[in-house]
């Protein structure tokens, strides 16, 4: 079966692990556990009749003590950038994280998740922030807690990963 390495990238506490847990195990916990290194899960997804295995590399988030591990990003077929809609600074860093991931993995397909839409009363993004995110393309508003937008986001990336390269 076709396997695709997908890296989850973002600032700490944005919900990368929770998104994977919701997608793979249909589970959510409010309890926060910081990821150390990389946690790996797999999920088989069917795209237009073809099964592919997403190998999900849930990378430790960027924090003041450590950057995203570029060694973990090498060989990635796709990237999911995750920001927390209630913490504007986590979204502001997505452009820089894109630069880091592109340097390590090349210009691979990606989607962006603005997570925690279940906390709309705490939403911190301005309409201008949102417009800038829309320009990136592949934008999804997700809630790892309720599952909203989660399946659609992973499926969209899987679709991007199965598009034949030009000239192939």
């Amino acid at each position: 079966m076709i396997q695709k390495k997908v890296c989850m990238v973002g600032v700490f506490g944005t919900g990368k692990t929770s998104l994977v847990q919701q997608y793979v195990h249909t589970k959510f916990t409010d309890k926060y556990h910081s990821t150390v290194g990389v946690k790996i899960d797999r999920k088989v997804v069917n795209v237009d009749g073809t099964d592919i295995t997403l190998v999900l590399w849930d990378l430790a988030g960027r924090d003041p003590q450590q950057d995203v591990g570029s060694s973990y990003l090498k060989g990635a077929h796709g990237v999911i950038y995750v920001g927390d809609g209630t913490r504007r600074e986590t979204v502001s860093e997505l452009d820089d994280l894109l630069r880091v991931a592109t340097a390590a993995a090349g210009p691979v397909p990606s989607v962006t998740a603005i997570n925690k839409i279940d906390l709309t009363e705490q939403w911190a993004l301005t309409p201008e922030d949102y417009q800038a995110l829309v320009k990136r393309g592949g934008l999804f508003r997700t809630s790892a807690k309720t599952g909203e937008g989660v399946e659609a986001m992973f499926l969209q990336l899987a679709r991007f990963l199965t598009v034949p390269k030009a000239g192939a």
Partner: protein, 276 residues
């Protein structure tokens, strides 16, 4: 004596029955996985091809803590470790130049080894009225990357820049209750649920968690059964792992601390110092 592996890894392991138990149900293994072509003799003008085929090796570190059953937890942990090594011996082919596909294949084989060990314990004792089970925490170190496959509550953690970081989370009912918001960590710690595994080799459910981490020179890895962490807290563990000691000294000190703290359970410790 500590073993110094290629890549500069100083590693030592020790298991002790403790002060309350009569039987040691823990097992551990420290082994080198090596695939190489070693030139003995040739009339080839250029033998440089053999240089690339020499000396690439991985270190296998595993701790298993058997629990209960008619046959005894020691049988489960021994069966699991033996089966794991046997499986890896027959399936591992190469560690050279792991690209993304080869790395995923490598990881799958490590996981398959754990599943094979689980099946072997089930085949041997699954029909017992009280089948035994075992934890298994396995780290395969292909410098600088460490691949972690974990089942149960034997822990792996490492010291990096003075900061002790967990590489595993206990697969206990207590942890599950905390995750579900049904208990606080303090309540779970006081509850017998913190001693009850929801996932183990040989048990009904076996749910390996998989991860990896890249080590740096100076990092110190610890793997242990819960006989250590019942008596030695993280602060003390950090203190010991921060000392300018050999892996053997660190291991013996931690085991001694557990015994002096009560030694209520079997205690097994592996320490690996990444010299780089």
């Amino acid at each position: 004596m500590s073993a110094i592996f290629s890549g500069g890894i100083d590693v030592f392991g020790l298991s002790d029955v403790g002060r309350k138990r009569t039987r040691n149900e823990d097992h551990f293994v420290i082994a080198t996985l090596r695939k190489e072509i070693l030139l003995r003799q040739s009339n080839l003008a250029d033998t440089s091809v053999f240089d690339a085929a020499r000396g690439v090796e991985a270190q296998l570190l595993a701790v298993a803590d058997g629990v209960g059953g008619q046959a005894g937890g020691d049988v489960a942990s021994r069966t699991a470790v033996t089966a794991l090594v046997g499986y890896l011996n027959t399936t591992m082919t190469c560690f050279n130049n792991l690209d993304v596909d080869a790395e995923h294949e490598f990881l799958e084989k490590l996981e398959a080894g754990v599943h094979a060990a689980h099946q072997q314990v089930r085949d041997a004792h699954g029909r017992d009225s009280r089948p035994p089970a075992t934890t298994l925490t396995m780290i395969t170190l292909l410098w600088p990357r460490a691949y972690v496959v974990h089942v149960g509550d034997s822990r792996a953690m490492y010291l990096h820049n003075g900061w002790l970081r967990p590489l595993t989370r206990d697969q206990t009912m207590g942890e599950a209750m905390v995750d579900a918001g049904a208990m606080t960590e303090e309540q779970a710690a006081r509850s017998s649920l913190s001693q009850t595994l929801y996932s183990a080799l040989g048990a009904q459910d076996m749910l390996p968690s998989v991860g990896l981490v890249d080590f740096a020179a100076g990092d110190v890895l610890l793997m242990c059964s819960d006989g250590l962490t019942k008596h030695v807290n993280d602060t003390r563990i950090s203190e010991v792992l921060s000392q300018p000691w050999t892996a053997e000294m660190m291991t013996k000190t931690l085991v001694q601390d557990a015994l002096e703290g009560g030694g209520s359970d079997n205690v097994t410790v592996i320490v690996a110092r990444m010299i780089g």
